[in-house]
Every structure is written in structure tokens, then in C-alpha cells.
């Protein structure tokens, strides 16, 4: 613990040298409004308690949300912040419930590619020599690919909602492509629902109990019947998306692959997101990171914070029993949620000093 605190102080000093202003955040944060922003995983793992005057409160599960909140209340632009302190998350088994995070966040309107590269290059520099493997990804490309599918808005928003849950995403994509068990189950359900009018079906099924009303059931039946008329997502698009999700390659090569002919089924939708990736790779090269050797995994970041919506990155140890040493990404949409309409592009990341300490102990 003392070793981790010494590491944290050193990391923080390097972030301040890089021009960041140190900020603090309360350990006790309001839960009700903020918890949703983290997504399912963190929501289930936050320590929530009740305050007689303030209502539901939680022990902060990370710093990004409170830092964004503080910035949106009147920070200067552009701004660079750093912080260090404990965060709290419930765990099964032996993993730590309370651990330090040292973080760096950049709020800047101009040149998002350069801000992405700045954060990544800083992390790369201060973690140099620690025997870590960097990995990058881009949630923006996944979102663009889903937005580019030739299908209904309902289906697209169902897929968007589950970008963060790879297993359900895959199952939905298969069903919407008209394949597999779920497609069969859905076809059977729809044929049962066609037998009679919604009110008759509900009345026949048994006594109405619970808060979900006959209206709501009727509305979903209508949605299901409409969805049954929607043609399957074209096979080439499903395949292109599946190939995209499993893409692992050095970043330059990955960009080339995604631009190549084989991806034509998704090409028009992907183009702007791929242009952003290209600009980022150029900014990374300019910042001294060799994008020709930088690992890119299209699915990276899908099981972390649900507020990331662009560039994502991590630095992972070769020891697979340890969580990543560092993670981060771009979260433009979060600033607009917390700024009530005002938004500013933002990118940042955190380092876990205890994991570094454990790795050093093992050396």
C-alpha cells in the first residue's frame, strides 16, 4: 500500500509536469443520477448507501464522472486535469475492493486526434519500461458500423444498447440476420401473436398482475409484428460486422483492412469513423508512437465503461491474472449529458498503482 502510494505520487507529479492541474473529488457521490452513466457492470458493483438528507449516495467508483461534472460547472478551456485517490467497487473473490487510481483528462475542442494522441503518448511515456502491452480500439467505429446497417431504427438501437454486452450483441445480430435459435423462437412467438387481437390474447392468458399494463403489452406486440415484416439484415453486412468485431491487427494494417474492398457492405457508414482513426494514427506518429506496430483490437473496450464513445486504450500486463494497469478513452457524449446540452470533447485515462507495485514486487 505504501509502495503503491509512492508510485501514485510519482505518476501524479509526471502528469502535473505535463501541464495538468490537480483536482479532487468527494469520495461520497450522489448515486441516483450518476450511477446510470457507468453502465450495468459498475452499477451492480458500486457501494450504495442512504443519506437521510441527500438520498442515495455511493462511494465513488471512478473519478471521470465527478471530474467532468466539476469541469462542466465552469472549467476553463482547454483544460488538463489530474487526480489520485481510492475508488471502490464490489468484487467476488480476492480482487481489491478499494484501490488507487491516478488519472489524466483533457477537455479540448480543437483537434480531437491530437488530444487522443497526447493522452496515449503520455501514458506510454510514464509507463515505459514496465513490460506492458499496449492495446487500442475505437468504440466510434463500432457505433458507425451499427448505424450503417440496412435495417430499422428499433433494431439499430437494440444493437447500440448492447455494444457493451458482447454475448447479447452477437445473439441479436444473429436473430436480426434471420438465423439461429432466437430467430426460430421469435418466429414462433409472432405466429402465436397473429392468432388473435392483442386484447383477446392478454385476456385469455390469465389475470393481469403487476405494473406493466395491457397497453404496454399491446405496444410491444405491435412492435413485434412490425419487426417481423422487416427484412433480415443483409448477410454481407452481418458477416462484415462479425469480421470487424474480431479484427486484431497493428493499427495501420487494421485501418487498411477496414478500408479494403471486402468491407464494402459497411463502407459508406464507416468512412468518417475511419478518417478519424487515420487522423489519430497520424497524430500518434507525430507524438512518437509507431502506429505501424501499435496493436488494434476492434472489440477492445466493450466490457469497460459504457461512457466511452471513440478512441479506447489499455496497457495490460503479460500476467493474465491481473487487471489492466491502465485504461482510458474518449467520452464526448458524457460531457453533453452532464453539461445539460453544453458539450466539450474529452479524453482521458487512469493508472492503477497497486498493480504496478505488484508487478514490481514480482520482478
Amino acid at each position: 500500500m505504501i509502495q503503491a502510494e509512492a508510485i501514485a505520487a510519482e505518476l501524479l507529479a509526471q502528469m502535473q509536469d505535463a501541464g495538468a492541474q490537480r483536482v479532487a473529488a468527494d469520495i461520497l457521490q450522489p448515486a441516483e443520477t450518476l450511477l446510470d452513466l457507468y453502465g450495468e457492470d459498475i452499477r451492480a458493483r458500486a457501494y450504495v448507501t442512504h443519506d437521510p438528507a441527500l438520498g442515495e449516495m455511493m462511494l465513488r467508483p471512478d473519478f471521470t464522472v465527478p471530474v467532468v461534472q466539476a469541469h462542466m460547472k465552469g472549467g476553463a478551456e482547454p483544460a488538463r486535469y489530474c487526480y489520485a485517490g481510492p475508488v471502490f467497487r464490489k468484487q467476488d473473490g480476492r480482487r481489491a475492493r478499494e484501490y488507487l487510481q491516478v488519472g489524466y483528462e483533457v477537455f479540448a475542442r480543437d483537434d480531437p486526434a491530437r488530444a487522443d494522441a497526447e493522452v496515449f503518448a503520455l501514458f506510454s511515456r510514464i509507463l515505459d519500461g514496465k513490460d506492458l502491452r499496449p492495446v487500442t480500439g475505437d468504440i466510434g467505429i463500432l457505433k458507425a458500423a451499427v448505424a450503417g446497417l440496412e435495417t430499422s431504427t428499433e433494431r439499430k438501437s437494440a444493437l447500440m444498447r448492447h455494444i457493451w454486452h458482447p454475448r447479447r450483441f452477437r445473439a441479436l445480430l444473429e436473430r436480426m440476420g434471420g438465423q439461429g435459435q432466437l430467430a426460430e423462437a421469435r418466429a414462433e412467438l409472432v405466429s402465436n401473436l397473429r392468432v388473435a387481437r392483442a386484447e383477446a390474447l392478454i385476456a385469455e392468458a390469465g389475470q393481469m398482475v403487476g405494473l406493466r399494463s395491457a397497453d404496454e403489452i399491446g405496444a410491444r406486440i405491435a412492435t413485434l409484428l412490425r419487426d417481423a415484416e422487416t427484412p433480415p439484415i443483409p448477410r454481407e453486412q452481418v458477416q462484415a460486422l462479425e469480421r470487424l468485431l474480431s479484427l486484431h491487427a497493428p493499427a495501420r494494417a487494421a485501418l487498411g483492412t477496414m478500408r479494403a474492398q471486402g468491407w464494402a457492405a459497411l463502407a459508406p457508414a464507416l468512412a468518417p469513423a475511419l478518417d478519424r482513426l487515420e487522423a489519430r494514427l497520424e497524430a500518434l506518429d507525430a507524438a512518437g508512437i509507431d502506429s505501424g506496430n501499435l496493436p488494434f483490437e476492434a472489440s477492445f473496450g466493450r466490457t469497460t465503461m459504457e461512457y466511452y464513445d471513440g478512441f479506447v486504450f489499455g496497457f495490460v500486463s503479460v500476467r493474465d491474472d491481473l487487471p489492466p494497469v491502465a485504461t482510458g478513452g474518449r467520452y464526448d457524449a458524457l460531457t453533453s449529458v452532464l453539461g445539460q446540452g453544453r458539450a466539450i470533447p474529452a479524453v482521458g485515462g487512469v493508472i492503477r498503482p497497486e498493480i504496478l507495485a505488484e508487478l514490481e514486487g514480482a520482478l
Binding site: H165, R168, A171, A185, Q207, M208, V209, L211, R220
Partner: protein, 244 residues
């Protein structure tokens, strides 16, 4: 020192456990007065019977205060974090069967499986401004199950009894509970989702990794009688401090 065997202290679970051991040549009996929780073991040496509430057995196993224990596989999975690191499943015993299932109102004619439940949860949240509530006392099992299936936009609400009534009482929209016949569900206008259950539970003989196995020589003789393939050296080498 003797090997401590924890067994449910009353009811059908106790009787069935006694029968299971009797069929394997080990007579377990309650001794003393009817209200006194004391017991005797015949047919194998060095084993001490400890009568406990079935719900306390997972905790006693985890603490290593008993070497072996009989309880529902659902209770061990629910009550112990990372249960497989704390206990070893030695033998499913073939009784006390019950499934932990997710059930929704029968009137939800648009819902048959988790795929539907997930879609309904999203619509429910948009309409009502809060997450669809699932009442249960099996928080860990149900949370893991829904997470592994990628269901979102639900919340678990605690229900320690009469869970089937929570939907009618408007304190939950769906439930996750143990059922063996489904009678109570039907009586409360609920139906089970078609997906495989959260867990199929039965009475199971467990061994505690944290117990002191160096002082329990009776294990070999007991295992032989019960026809169990034991990993005793692994049990002995997994003291509490080394658990992952």
C-alpha cells in the same frame, strides 16, 4: 481429532440425508431428547455428526469449522463468493431437487425468453423512468445469470419470502425464485421463461477446503464407504490463506 460432518438438523432434508448415508452403510442418528441437536455415527470411525440449519452449512464449510457438509447446491453458490475456491462438490445426492427460475406474469403474452425480457426491460425503463424490478433472494446467482446473458436495464429487489406475491403487490415486475412443481407460480398468475434455469439445485455433499484435513484421518475410510473419488491431497493443500 474427528472429522466433522454437518447435516441439516430437521425435516425432509435431514431424513433423506440419513437415508442416503444408511444406503451406504453409515447410520446417522439423532441422540438425546427430540429437541437436542446431537447425533451419532455408526459404521465408520472418527466421524462426528454436527446438526445444523441447512442455511448455515455453507458458512460453516467456508470457515472450515466442519470438514464435510450436506446442503442445497443453490445455497452454496448463492452464499459463498467464488464458491469453487472454498468448497469441493463431492457428490450430488439425488434429492431436494428445485430449479431457480425467472418468471413473469402470464399476461405477458409477448414474453417467452430472456431475449424478450431484455427488450421489455428497455421499453419499461423508457416508459416508467425506473428499471424493471426482479424480486429475489438469490442476488448473486441471478445477477451472474443475467449478466452472462447480457440482459440490461433491470434491478434486483430483495424478497426473503412470498416472492411470488411481489408482482401482484406492485413491488416487482418479475421474480427469480426456487420452484419444484410450479404450483405456487401458477396460482400467482406467473409463468417461467423458456430459457434453461438459473440453477438446477439438489442436496449435495460438500468438502471444505479451509478445514484442517491433516487432523482428519477418517476421510479415507469414509470416502471408501461412500464410494467417492476424493481429491484429499488437494483439500489438505488448500489452506484458507492460499485461496484464490
Amino acid at each position: 481429532m474427528s472429522l466433522k460432518l454437518g447435516v441439516p438438523s430437521k425435516g425432509r432434508l435431514m431424513e433423506k440425508t440419513f437415508e442416503w448415508f444408511a444406503a451406504r452403510g453409515i447410520a446417522l442418528t439423532r441422540t438425546g431428547e427430540a429437541r437436542e441437536y446431537a447425533g451419532a455415527v455408526d459404521g465408520v470411525d472418527g466421524v462426528e455428526l454436527v446438526l445444523l440449519s441447512a442455511s448455515e452449512i455453507p458458512r460453516e464449510l467456508a470457515a472450515g469449522r466442519i470438514h464435510l457438509g450436506v446442503t442445497g447446491s443453490d445455497l452454496v453458490r448463492e452464499d459463498l463468493a467464488d464458491w469453487a475456491a472454498q468448497v469441493v462438490e463431492l457428490a450430488p445426492m439425488g434429492f431436494g431437487h428445485a430449479d431457480l427460475i425467472v418468471a413473469v406474469p402470464k399476461a405477458w403474452v409477448d414474453v417467452e425468453n430472456l431475449d424478450d425480457l431484455d427488450a421489455v426491460a428497455a421499453a419499461f425503463r423508457a416508459r416508467h423512468g425506473f428499471r424493471l424490478r426482479i424480486a429475489t433472494k438469490y442476488h448473486r446467482l441471478v445477477r451472474d445469470y443475467l449478466r452472462s446473458h447480457g440482459v440490461a436495464d433491470y434491478q434486483l429487489v430483495d424478497s426473503q419470502g412470498a416472492t411470488e406475491g411481489t408482482v401482484k403487490n406492485l413491488t416487482a415486475e418479475a421474480i427469480a425464485d426456487i420452484t419444484s412443481t410450479g404450483e405456487t407460480l401458477r396460482a400467482n398468475h406467473l409463468k417461467i421463461l423458456r430459457d434453461p434455469p438459473v440453477h438446477c439445485s439438489q442436496a449435495t455433499l460438500f468438502a471444505a477446503r479451509a478445514a484442517d484435513w491433516t487432523q482428519a484421518p477418517a476421510l479415507t475410510g469414509l470416502a471408501e464407504k461412500l464410494g467417492l473419488a476424493l481429491p484429499p491431497e488437494r483439500l489438505g493443500q488448500m489452506p484458507l490463506s492460499d485461496r484464490r
